[in-house]
């Protein structure tokens, strides 16, 4: 991976650990939702984050977006952005004021997106509150920009007059996406932004995201459990399992030739129209992140598990120029 003058990544996450510290019936325990994650996102790249429900995708994304609230706590590691030479390290001693970079440089579309919209104010006001001062246009022109942007998301301009509760779930979700993209930020973090949309609208939204991303060469982390969306949108894909990144590489390569048994399962279990027989499910359930299994966290469910998997934690190792995997069975020389 040493190409000499390769441009610096826009985001570098190193050995990041973020735990929920909970106290239940007098017992303290840590939910290790993000455990030692290292990744980077390049300029002009869409990075997809995949993995089953509750594996820690949202937690990782919150940590990257600087949206940390107790009981979530960053235990170690770093998150560093590079906005055209302006370095911002989120968990440094002299951490920056996030308000400074929100919306314009970095925008975050939260899962269940409702929360950015003030329930007591019309949608129009949310746009004015968050986006107006970043767009540098007179109000009338600004609203024209907003209306045009909404149309790309298959939303009629009338939604601006509505209160959030008057919109359907999918309409609210699109309003949140519009809000996060109208300022054309350099880095967009989107957590399951299309899960509540019909497939036609979903396609429109994904196309819009892709277009905005191309027009300004921004970077994007796109979180979804839907592998079909990843397949159609993302340049690179990271797969999480139980708080850890277990595989990462070019999307097409991973879909064609997954190296981690868990990734292979994810891809094999994709439902398709026309299925009438149940797909084979994985044995067992995802581990509790308060008490994850030793060694490889996937070993209790892994068809390839070996002795070493129960004792040692496989590290992410390169298996191709841009392809990493954390599995003993996929790493030559590690089998025993």
């Amino acid at each position: 991976m040493s190409e000499g003058a390769a441009p610096a990544p826009v985001l570098t996450v190193t050995a990041l650990r973020a735990y929920y510290q909970t106290r239940l019936f007098g017992i303290d325990r840590d939910v290790r939702a993000v455990d030692n994650v290292t990744l980077h996102v390049n300029a002009n790249e869409i990075y997809g984050l995949a993995g089953e429900s509750s594996c820690g995708k949202t937690t990782l994304i919150k940590t990257i977006a600087g949206a940390i609230r107790p009981p979530l706590k960053v235990q170690g590691g770093s998150v560093e952005f590079n906005f055209h030479g302006r370095r911002v390290s989120l968990y440094d001693k002299n951490a920056p004021d996030l308000a400074d970079i929100r919306w314009r440089h970095l925008s975050y579309i939260m899962q269940g997106s409702m929360s950015v919209l003030n329930p007591l104010r019309r949608v129009r006001n949310s746009f004015v509150d968050f986006a107006f001062r970043h767009i540098h246009k007179p109000m009338a022109e600004f609203l024209d920009t907003v209306r045009a942007h909404l149309l790309r998301l298959h939303l009629q301009p009338e939604v601006l007059d509505a209160y959030p509760h008057e919109l359907s779930g999918g309409m609210r979700q699109r309003v949140a996406i519009a809000l996060a993209t109208v300022c054309r930020p350099e880095f967009i973090i989107a957590d399951e932004p299309t899960t509540a949309l019909d497939v036609i609208v979903q396609k429109g939204v994904l196309t819009m995201i892709r277009e905005v991303q191309r027009e300004i060469g921004s970077s994007l982390i796109f979180v979804t459990h839907d592998m079909a969306v990843h397949a159609n949108l993302c340049d690179r894909l990271g797969v999480m399992y139980a708080g850890r990144l277990v595989e990462e590489g070019p999307t097409a390569e991973i879909l064609r030739e997954p190296r981690h048994p868990y990734t292979a399962h994810l891809i094999a279990s994709l439902p398709r129209i026309g299925d009438v027989a149940p797909k084979k499910a994985l044995e067992g359930t995802p581990p509790s992140l308060a008490d994850p299994p030793l060694g490889c966290r996937f070993h209790p469910r892994c068809p390839l598990a070996m002795d070493i998997c129960k004792r040692e934690n496989p590290q992410m190792e390169w298996v191709g120029p841009v392809h990493r995997v954390a599995c003993f069975a996929a790493q030559p020389g590690k089998r025993q």
């Binding site: 089953e52 509540a196 340049d235 026309g274």
Partner: protein, 275 residues
């Protein structure tokens, strides 16, 4: 001939949006008719455009919103004149679209289960309520031990949604109205939840109104289907026949828009492209 479990005739719902003063009126649901469970328990899917009135329809079936026109009958009785509210709620249970909105963030999630067990399943003691809760949770792949004492924000979307389904099961309902119950969960969990719906229908005789954007699971579990757009039904009938061979242009467009996971890997080398 007995009455079907649920019967909608020419149901409409008009909203005014944006406040009384500047508002405009909108026919969110515009003349919908269908029956569920005439010939025994069935899974009835509603799919269609975002904003086409599916959730509004669900609210009217649950009797939490009233139709502006038309009639909804449950076991032959008009919901408009319904007196035994509790009895109705025991028989018709909801599962909502967004689990983050369905639970009060300040309330521990197991409370909901205990409350439902006391209210609808006749649990007299805390221990009994716990038993009911645990049994229901196990049907959805969780257990009481895993969620006891937790607040909604301590669970992931998928976990919360399974709790919501477990809660609905405690009452042993005849009809479950599930509004996008699987949109927040991954493919394998999704399959296990819809398989659970099948079991409910086949073994417990529960009918299910299944609202979804996921055509694959609609195909996989539904007996009949209606496709909605702008408040109206554009096509309705046996699920597999319709999804195999849609006739209405909107239904065809919908089916064609389903993203194929295979496309990228096969066609576009390392840089997949949305078309």
């Amino acid at each position: 001939m007995t009455a079907p479990l649920l019967e909608l005739s020419d149901v409409a719902k008009v909203y005014s949006i944006g406040g009384a003063l500047f508002g405009h009126r909108l026919r969110a649901v515009d003349g919908i008719s269908f029956e569920v469970g005439r010939d025994g328990p069935e899974i009835f899917a509603i799919i269609g455009e975002s904003g086409s009135g599916k959730t509004t329809l669900a609210r009217m079936i649950l009797n939490t919103a009233q139709p502006s026109a038309g009639k909804i009958l449950f076991r032959g009785a008009d919901l408009a004149g319904m007196r035994d509210r509790l009895g109705f709620m025991r028989q018709v249970q909801p599962i909502f679209q967004n689990p983050f909105e369905a639970f009060n963030p300040l309330k521990r999630v197991d409370r909901y289960l205990y409350m439902t067990a006391r209210r609808f399943a006749g649990a007299a003691t805390q221990a009994e309520a716990g038993d009911h809760a645990d049994r229901a949770l196990r049907k959805v792949g969780l257990s009481l031990a895993e969620i006891r004492g937790r607040f909604p924000h301590e669970l992931s979307g998928g976990q919360l949604q399974r709790v919501a389904i477990a809660r609905a099961l405690i009452a042993s309902p005849a009809l479950i109205v599930a509004d996008e119950p699987v949109s927040m969960v991954d493919a394998s969990l999704r399959m296990s939840i819809v398989n659970l719906f099948k079991t409910l229908r086949d073994d417990l005789g529960v009918s299910i109104v299944y609202i979804t954007h996921d055509l694959a699971t609609a195909y996989y579990i539904s007996d009949r289907i209606v496709i909605m757009r702008k408040g109206r039904a554009v096509e309705a009938g046996p699920a597999r026949a319709i999804l195999d061979n849609p006739q209405h242009p909107y239904s065809i467009e919908l089916k064609n828009a389903v993203l194929s996971p295979d496309a990228a890997a096969r066609l576009y080398g390392n840089r997949p492209i949305m078309e």
